[in-house]
């Protein structure tokens, strides 16, 4: 169907096994839904390892389940010429941070900005957010993510100095003293195109990927990332199953559970290993008044089923995170959603040579940056979840900050200092409440690393 990806179309037709594991031939299904993991690799028109979750559906394609690594057909890629592009700023990622970075740099009158995204839609994870956002009026609170994505897309289209390249993956980053070189592949109907992009500054707003939990059966088709389910359901209109067990009561787990109910899917329960619900009470309250129980101090033990999820065992967790014997419950379900946090996507930042550190509050390794969002590599900036897991509202402000700072580094500094100050103040405001504590600590640690204050 129009607008579908290969994986969503297969799902809509009841095909949930997309590949098999190499050694034990275990069935594998889709997990993240946004092109961040390897769970949906299939062979499409003889090309192996195609991430079918972000590959738009076309007529007359041959999609084959893949059970070995596969090899590339030589003639497809032989003698491919690369096209050279020169721009001032490249923004990698078109989520809330990337969009705002591009828009704010464009408003500073930077002549050419290129916005790149792997997906076929602009907006990153905004496109699947059907709930109203929190925050202040300036950050569009009360607006649904999908409406916000459309609003920002209109702004991008109205700014003549922003060009966008969708379905484009950066496969290599190199930097020299004067400029940065990004090698990218654009997927299109007529065949893939190779680009060599030279730019003076680059902003990485690559987002994050969902965490997995280790338990027996976690690779069975039917175990999804909660965000993957949200994509499947809200972007492609495909229900993941009939009865869902949600693992994790942070905001993602709570919001996706509620959206499953809205889509007409039953949510059996939400289990949370911690003794308290991590997400906002208002989200938990919405679920509870619909009759969905939330079990704190409970976790998933295993998932069982032949070739797909048929049920799961949950158990009560005591002190020191030890399971309490004889508290196991068997839940009949066809879908298990894992909502246990995110890990920043920093591979491109690492490749370009930005200094990284492990910061637990950030959700993993991140590129350290100064207060203007510049990394240890001159002209390379970072914004949004790839600089520490946080909310869309703060990602937008960080994007603006990175966009303005990047523009300033190129000499487009009209009111730059004032704008930087304004954004930094807004970020401090958001991080001053109890739910902002973790990102606040994260950013303090980053500042410490930046100053050389912590030696690892």
């Amino acid at each position: 169907m129009k607008g579908d990806t290969i994986a969503s179309a297969l799902h809509a037709n009841g095909i949930t096994t997309l590949s098999h594991s190499l050694r034990y031939h275990r069935p594998r299904g889709f997990f993240c839904g946004i092109g961040k993991c390897s769970s949906c690799f299939m062979t499409v028109d003889d090309i192996p390892n195609v991430r079918t979750c972000i590959m738009p559906l076309k007529e007359n394609i041959r999609v084959i389940e893949q059970d070995r690594i596969g090899s590339l057909p030589d003639k497809e890629f032989k003698d491919k010429k690369r096209k050279k592009i020169d721009v001032d700023i490249v923004v990698v990622g078109s989520g809330p941070a990337g969009l705002m970075a591009a828009i704010s740099a464009a408003k500073q009158k930077v002549p050419s900005i290129l916005l790149i995204d792997e997906n076929h839609l602009i907006g990153g994870q905004l496109v699947k957010q059907s709930h109203k956002f929190f925050g202040s009026e300036e950050e569009k609170a009360g607006t649904r993510g999908i409406d916000l994505a459309n609003e920002l897309l209109e702004q991008v289209n109205s700014l003549k100095n922003i060009k966008s390249m969708l379905q484009t993956t950066i496969i290599g980053c190199y930097n020299s003293k004067k400029n940065h070189k990004l090698i990218s592949v654009k997927r299109q109907k007529e065949g893939d195109l190779l680009f060599e992009i030279n730019c003076k500054s680059v902003i990485f707003a690559c987002g994050a990927m969902e965490n997995m939990l280790a338990f027996p059966g976690n690779d069975l088709p039917g175990v999804y990332g909660a965000g993957g389910v949200q994509t499947l359901m809200n972007v492609y209109g495909v229900k993941p199953g009939k009865n869902v067990l949600m693992v994790g009561a942070g905001n993602v787990g709570l919001i996706v559970s509620y959206q499953l109910l809205q889509a007409g899917v039953n949510v059996d329960r939400v289990v949370e290993i911690l003794p308290r619900i991590g997400g906002y009470n208002v989200h938990a309250a919405k679920l509870r008044r619909c009759g969905v129980p939330i079990y704190t101090s409970h976790s998933i033990k295993e998932v069982y089923g032949k070739n797909k999820v048929e049920g799961a065992i949950v158990e009560k967790i005591g002190s020191s995170f030890k399971p309490i014997p004889k508290t196991q419950q068997d839940i009949i379900c066809d879908t298990v959603c894992i909502a246990v946090g995110l890990t920043p996507s920093i591979r491109l930042l690492e490749q370009i040579g930005a200094k990284t550190e492990y910061i637990a509050e950030a959700g993993g390794h991140i590129a350290i940056h100064d207060s203007s969002m510049q990394t240890s590599v001159k002209g390379v900036y970072v914004a949004g979840d790839s600089s520490g897991i946080e909310e869309a509202s703060t990602a937008m402000i960080e994007g603006q900050l990175a966009g303005v700072s990047s523009a300033m580094s190129l000499g487009y500094d009209k009111q730059g200092k004032e704008l930087q100050k304004k954004y930094i103040k807004a970020l401090e405001g958001f991080r001053s409440g109890p739910f902002g504590l973790k990102p606040k600590i994260c950013k303090e640690k980053i500042a410490c690393c930046w100053d050389g204050g912590i030696n690892y």
Partner: protein
């Protein structure tokens, strides 16, 4: 270091009346907004939308404070709150009117009879749909219930 105690609602997701600021009978007769937002979340659309400045906040992270004497029960905050955490409650003779946000399909119709649910999702008898407004895809639904239930019923289920 601060000792962290876990509040009951943090375990269950369900607020009790002790967690809330409630209006008196006089104010309820007029009809006022009851805000069920007890955590310091960086969020303020309710303050911005209130036409009579009855809702205030020290800063974006503070809890919303409502002045029941100023509140006119206009229901704008019900449709705007991203947390769906504001309800307008009014006493009318021996009945109670509850205005709540509703984000499911199908949307009920005026005069429909639905099941009233409490904060646990437990059925608490029948309710009649009195009025429906739409605000950015959130339906703002007013139901009529027994007046004893006005502080318990917070959701509806279409039968």
């Amino acid at each position: 270091m601060e000792v962290l105690t876990i509040k009951q609602y943090e375990k269950t997701g369900i607020l009790s009346l002790e967690d809330l600021t409630l209006p008196n009978d006089e104010q309820l007769k007029k009809g006022v907004a009851v805000i069920e937002c007890v955590q310091e979340i960086p969020c303020n659309p309710c303050v911005a939308v209130c036409p009579v400045s009855a809702i205030s906040m020290r800063d974006i992270n503070a809890l919303p404070k409502i002045d029941f004497n100023k509140c006119t029960g206009c229901k704008r905050c019900v449709g705007i709150c991203p947390g769906l955490a504001i309800f307008v409650i009014k006493l009318k003779d021996d009945k109670g009117l509850i205005t709540l946000p509703y984000e499911f399909y199908p949307i009920p119709k005026v005069e429909d009879t639905v099941t009233a649910l409490d904060r646990k999702g437990k059925p608490r008898g029948k309710a009649k749909i009195v009025k429906i407004n739409r605000n950015n895809k959130t339906s703002v639904v007013t139901i009529e219930v027994d007046k004893e239930l006005i502080m318990d019923v917070r959701n509806i289920r279409l039968d």
